[in-house]
């Protein structure tokens, strides 16, 4: 009930339209109910009088119909507008809320789950708020009015005729409630089948290599029969309920024929009234069914509402404190003081109770303008460490300072605008290259964008793209190679002109020639900023003033390459085995061939 009231809150801004639309709907229903009554009058006139004038009655039916047309058109327009407005609002509220939530929230959520909130649940709610409510009241009113007229004509007959009505409503709402999930399950299984087909097509080389075509066919057949079984189940539901829902009103009509017919014969009922009864019952079958459907809708909407509010009620945990000042000017000095970070709510299984923190009691000071390389095995805490600087997470203990200020005390956007990331897997949005580069500064001129691209060594390849800087890239655009994506990401970071630059070094995606180019681009980018490099290669490590060795969420050592090779066994092990320079043989070969060709 609470959910229901909260859902109704979404209608508040449109209450006038809503009441208007209801008024129109009711008036239109009045007309609908009037028509059978008029038909009854006409029949009576035909039976009772010798030369009746039917034209006035026909004109009245016609007038009622015209009036209903007008009322219905207006009602549909208003209701449609309200429904779309509610959909619009719901989506805005949901999306805006997602944008307020901190990164940590998304770590614990499956994208698919959030997507289904935004599509399936939102759809169920808007359908209920936009149409369902009007359906319910409109159908309810039709039923009430028609029943009232029937009761006035003959209460006993009305009672008999309406006896199956509750059953119709019940059957229809039950059908709606069970058939929806059944249909959704069919869709779900089709999605599984699609995934199966997709996996087979992309793994076809493995299938062929192991000569396992028959096994694959067998797997696919399993997916196919899962779809089949569920489709048949859904079909059975439909095959059972829809004739049932059709049959019930017929029973009411049969009762009217049987009992009402006798009353007409015994002169207790006029033939016109009898016909009106008959027509009402034929007419009511639809609204009764719709009432059931709408009630099923309401139940689903409330379930969906619960799921939606679960997210809307989740307060963002990282926000600027009220009236927070902007980050004061500075050169990008970074301090971490006794910082401990635990990721909460990472998907169950991966992180158990009492698991080791991602960072434990880490302290680190980096002077403005310095370049620091972070080296360590995967999962050692390198990425967590840099994420704290931009306040993507708040540490459980300890404090992070940028230019001497606790990051929790400044305006978040002002902090983040001074920090730019170039991630390992550079994510680009579906937009033009120019828009992607200008991501952090939408007002940048084309000259500025091109300048940034040139500094990131990306200008040449961008110009060679089909539409140059206007080429659409990203998930639904042209796919760039890993190296190209990384250079666009570097340009994006450069254009943001941050105090602090954070580079997560991409490892395998770049070929040798571009690697040289990127290295130059990076050196350019780092000038005059504090830079953190999460390094996987000796060559990028060599760009740093200092190396910080991280393991198990702690800083185990720091120093120059030479110092660490000498004094840190762990670093030496990483440098010899872990840093992917054995792969380098390949790259240098390519580079040489490339150069030989030039």
């Amino acid at each position: 009930m609470r959910t229901y009231r909260r859902l109704m809150g979404f209608l508040r801004p449109y209450r006038f339209q809503l009441w208007g639309s209801l008024a129109f709907a009711w008036a239109a229903m009045g007309m609908t109910v009037a028509i059978p009554w008029l038909i009854g009058r006409a029949i009576n006139a035909i039976v009772e009088y010798d030369k009746p004038d039917l034209l006035p009655l026909a004109l009245a039916i016609f007038a009622a119909a015209i009036l209903r047309l007008g009322l219905t058109v207006v009602r549909r327009l208003v209701a449609g507008k309200v429904s779309l407005a509610v959909e619009f609002d719901l989506r805005q509220v949901f999306y805006a809320h997602l944008q307020r939530l901190e990164l940590g929230f998304f770590d614990g959520q499956q994208t698919g789950q959030l997507m289904s909130r935004a599509t399936v649940d939102l759809g169920a709610i808007r359908f209920f708020l936009g149409y369902g409510l009007i359906f319910i009241t409109q159908n309810l009113l039709t039923i009430v009015l028609a029943s009232a007229v029937m009761f006035v004509i003959d209460p006993v007959l009305a009672l008999l005729a309406l006896a199956p009505a509750p059953l119709i409503v019940y059957a229809a709402s039950r059908y709606n409630r069970v058939s929806r999930p059944a249909q959704q399950e069919v869709q779900q299984r089709i999605a599984e089948l699609t995934a199966e087909a997709e996996e087979n097509v992309s793994g076809i080389r493995i299938v062929k290599a192991f000569a396992r075509e028959e096994y694959q066919l067998h797997r696919f057949q399993r997916a196919v029969s899962r779809v089949f079984d569920q489709s048949i189940y859904a079909t059975r539901l439909q095959a059972f309920f829809s004739p049932l829902i059709g049959l019930l009103p017929q029973i009411g009509i049969a009762l009217v024929l049987l009992v009402g017919g006798r009353q007409v014969i015994n002169d207790n009922l006029s033939l016109g009234d009898f016909t009106a009864f008959y027509t009402y019952l034929v007419m009511l079958a639809g609204p009764l069914r719709m009432l059931g459907v709408a009630m099923g809708m309401a139940q689903r909407a409330i379930a969906s509402g619960n799921r939606l509010f679960e997210i809307l009620d989740r307060e963002p945990r990282i926000e600027s404190p009220p009236g927070a000042p902007a980050l004061p000017a500075g050169g990008g000095r970074v301090q971490l003081r006794d910082v401990t970070l635990r990721y909460a709510g990472v998907d169950a299984g991966a992180e158990r109770e009492g698991a080791l923190p991602a960072l434990s009691e880490v302290s680190l000071e980096v002077e403005a303008g310095r370049t620091v390389a972070l080296v360590g095995p995967s999962g050692s805490g390198k990425t967590s460490l840099v994420a704290l600087i931009a306040r993507l997470y708040d540490p459980d203990q300890g404090t992070v300072f940028v230019d001497g200020v606790d990051v929790r005390e400044v305006d978040v956007p002002s902090l983040r605008s001074e920090i730019a990331f170039v991630a390992d897997d550079s994510f680009l949005f579906t937009a033009s290259v120019a828009e992607n580069i200008a991501y952090a500064r939408a007002d940048a001129s084309l000259e500025e964008i091109e300048a940034a691209a040139r500094r990131a060594q990306a200008d040449a390849f961008i110009r060679a793209l089909p539409d140059g800087y206007e080429t659409r890239v990203g998930e639904r655009g042209l796919t760039l190679s890993g190296g190209q994506r990384q250079r666009v990401a570097i340009a994006r970071a450069l254009l943001a002109d941050p105090r602090i630059l954070i580079l997560d070094d991409a490892t395998s995606s770049v070929d040798a020639t571009t690697e040289v180019a990127i290295k130059e681009g990076l050196q350019e980018a780092m000038a005059g900023r504090t830079t953190f490099i999460i390094a996987h290669r000796l060559s990028t490590v060599s760009l740093a003033d200092e190396i910080v060795v991280v393991d198990g969420g702690r800083i185990v050592d720091r120093g120059t390459h030479a110092e660490l090779m000498e004094g840190c066994g762990f670093y030496r092990e990483i440098a010899e085995h872990g840093l992917a320079d054995s792969v380098f043989l390949q790259r240098d070969l390519e580079a040489r061939e490339e150069m030989a060709r030039l």
Partner: protein
């Protein structure tokens, strides 16, 4: 509007012309539909039942208004209670028959339609399995997948909805026309006047709204895609603090969605009330005109009541029929696409005289091999992936292939697995030209480990046993132990039964690689083809992988596309490929001593790693 009307009528015309041509077998589609119908043969009993149900339901659906009319005329007006009772009994009986027949028909249509299309789905899948690798590289995976999914769904729509609609709507319509004419010719003809109006209105509505509804689907798809993207890119959004901008962009998409949806609101608001109006007008006409006839005692009151009752039964099939053309078009287009695929004959089928070579020793020879991915390549063209390659690999040797991207390393490996045939020259295994060897017999003795370690969804156990599903649990565990993967497998939530997810996404790159090693090992291949991973794994996994690799290479011929110095050093022979040809070959020491390109590379690397 004028144009729309013309189109609308033309479309209905087209539907009938298309159906007529189908029936006469005048176009290619006739053959396809005939084939589709022939697929019903195994289920002809059920098809027959479906038609029985369909006919009975249609007939029973037509009876109630007539019976109600009879009840008035023969029972009530004449005061014959017995007749009234009889008619009411008939009325109830008809209603029950209707319900039962509808159940039968709905269930049977659903069953037969779904079954036939599932058969077709499997057929498409089986057909794909028989195609060569070359076929898959020439087509986008999305297109192939949609043959088994979207196209089948479109066809399903046509088969289930289309067939039922065309039969039941046409029959109902004919039935109503006949009954009305029998009841009263004059009144029937007057009612039929509304017929073209309704048809035109419905067809226009369908056509206009088809576009409008498509636009709404596109807009909502755009919103979903945008949402998906901002969720997968949430890290970038947060780190650049660009939340307001995304909210603005979403607002724009949201507005656009509202605008296209508004169009459908306008359409619905004009169409449905118009139909209601038409029905009311028809009712008025029946009353005035029929009433006049009744007063003159030319018809009875029951006839008027029956007429009013038939109006709805009369309007529905027309509305439904007007929907059919779109379904027909989409279904037929899907059928064409599916047939295109099924009509593509598999290439690279085994020759009838192809032999089973028995257990291989693992000797590989390339003899003057030229290969291009372009099928009809000319010798002068710059499209050759391999040019005149001669090479001999004795049984049991590890061959390391080294060279830049595009030098021909993977092509070399693919030819040995006979994913392709060379345009010139021969690839021989144990002295047999691969073109004369049964493909499955060859591949059963090959182990292939791709660079990215592709896994299928399923458990670790199932993945390891992929090449030998009959392997016992002990054998599987032994294979996992041999490649050094036991520790990580045991640490997984469900151990060896842990689901690896689609494409093995639940495992890290290094773990996937180890599972792929175990998979290859369990298949006990005589020849191993391995594309070494370059992706970064941490120190510990790296060491494990190195050890696993060593075990895997023991005692078999191996072709390794090598990236690791350790692998290259260990190889019995190193082949340096450049531009599709062999630049030099020999052992590590020989090549260093020779002072060629390989030694220069090695020198450069040693320097850089110390620097």
């Amino acid at each position: 509007m004028r144009r729309g009307e013309d189109n609308a009528l033309r479309n209905v015309g087209r539907l009938f012309v298309a159906l007529w041509r189908l029936v006469r077998g005048e176009d290619q589609r006739g053959r396809k539909v005939k084939w589709l119908v022939s697929q019903l043969r195994p289920y002809r009993g059920r098809v027959a039942l479906m038609f029985v149900g369909l006919l009975a339901a249609t007939a029973a659906g037509l009876a109630p208004p007539y019976l109600a009319g009879r009840a008035i005329d023969s029972g009530i007006q004449t005061g014959d209670v017995a007749a009234l009772d009889l008619i009411v009994i008939a009325f109830v009986a008809v209603a029950i028959i209707y319900a039962a027949a509808t159940y039968l028909q709905t269930y049977m249509v659903g069953w037969v339609g779904t079954r036939v299309l599932q058969d077709l789905r499997q057929r498409v899948f089986a057909h794909l399995q028989s195609m060569s690798i070359g076929f898959f590289t020439r087509r986008s995976p999305g297109v192939l997948i949609s043959r088994m999914t979207n196209d089948i769904e479109a066809l399903n729509q046509l088969v289930t909805d289309g067939v039922v609609t065309i039969f039941s709507s046409t029959l109902t319509l004919l039935g109503v026309v006949v009954i009305l004419l029998v009841l009263d010719v004059q009144l029937a003809l007057v009612v039929f006047l509304t017929f073209p109006l309704l048809l035109i209105a419905s067809v226009i509505f369908r056509i206009v709204s088809h576009g409008a509804y498509r636009a709404t689907r596109e807009r909502i798809a755009a919103i979903t895609a945008y949402l998906q993207e901002s969720l997968s890119g949430v890290r970038v959004v947060r780190s650049f603090g660009q939340e307001p901008r995304h909210v603005d962009e979403m607002t724009e998409l949201n507005e656009a969605n509202r605008a296209v949806n508004m169009k459908t609101v306008y359409l619905n608001a004009s169409y449905f009330p118009a139909v209601e109006l038409l029905a009311a007008v028809a009712t008025g006409v029946i009353l005035v005109y029929g009433g006049g006839l009744a007063i003159d005692r030319e018809i009875q009151i029951g006839v008027i009541v029956a007429f009013v009752g038939y109006l709805t039964t009369f309007f529905e099939p027309i509305q439904q029929l007007s929907q059919l053309y779109t379904t027909y078009q989409q279904g037929m287009a899907a059928l064409d696409k599916i047939f295109d695929l099924l009509d593509t004959a598999p290439d690279m089928v085994d020759a009838p005289e192809a032999i089973d070579p028995g257990t291989l020793r693992g000797e590989i020879e390339l003899d003057g091999v030229w290969f291009s991915y372009k099928e009809a390549a000319e010798p002068g063209e710059d499209v050759w992936a391999l040019r005149d390659v001669d090479l001999h690999v004795p049984p049991g040797q590890t061959l390391a292939l080294v060279g830049a991207t595009g030098a021909g390393k993977s092509t070399f490996a693919k030819l040995v697995a006979r994913f392709y045939d060379p345009q010139q020259g021969r690839v021989l295994v144990d002295g047999h030209d691969l073109r004369g060897v049964q493909q499955r017999a060859l591949r059963r003795q090959l182990g292939i480990v791709p660079q990215e370690g592709f896994l299928f969804s399923g458990s670790v156990r199932e993945n390891v046993a992929f090449g030998r599903p009959e392997a016992s649990l002990e054998e599987i565990e032994a294979a996992i132990a041999t490649v050094g993967a036991t520790a990580f497998v045991e640490a997984l939530p469900d151990g060896i039964e842990t689901e690896v997810g689609e494409r093995g996404i639940q495992l890290s790159a290094g773990q996937r690689q180890l599972v792929a090693f175990a998979r290859a090992l369990l298949a006990e291949p005589r020849i191993l083809i391995l594309d070494e991973a370059t992706s970064n794994v941490d120190v510990r996994t790296e060491k494990t992988i190195e050890k696993g690799l060593e075990r895997l290479l023991q005692g078999r011929t191996a072709i390794v596309i090598a990236h690791r110095l350790s692998t290259i050093r260990r190889a019995g022979k190193i082949v340096v490929l450049a531009d599709g040809g062999i630049a030099e070959q020999g052992t590590h020491d020989e090549l260093i001593a020779a002072g060629g390109p390989y030694s220069k590379l090695y020198g450069a690397w040693s320097e850089s790693s110390v620097a």
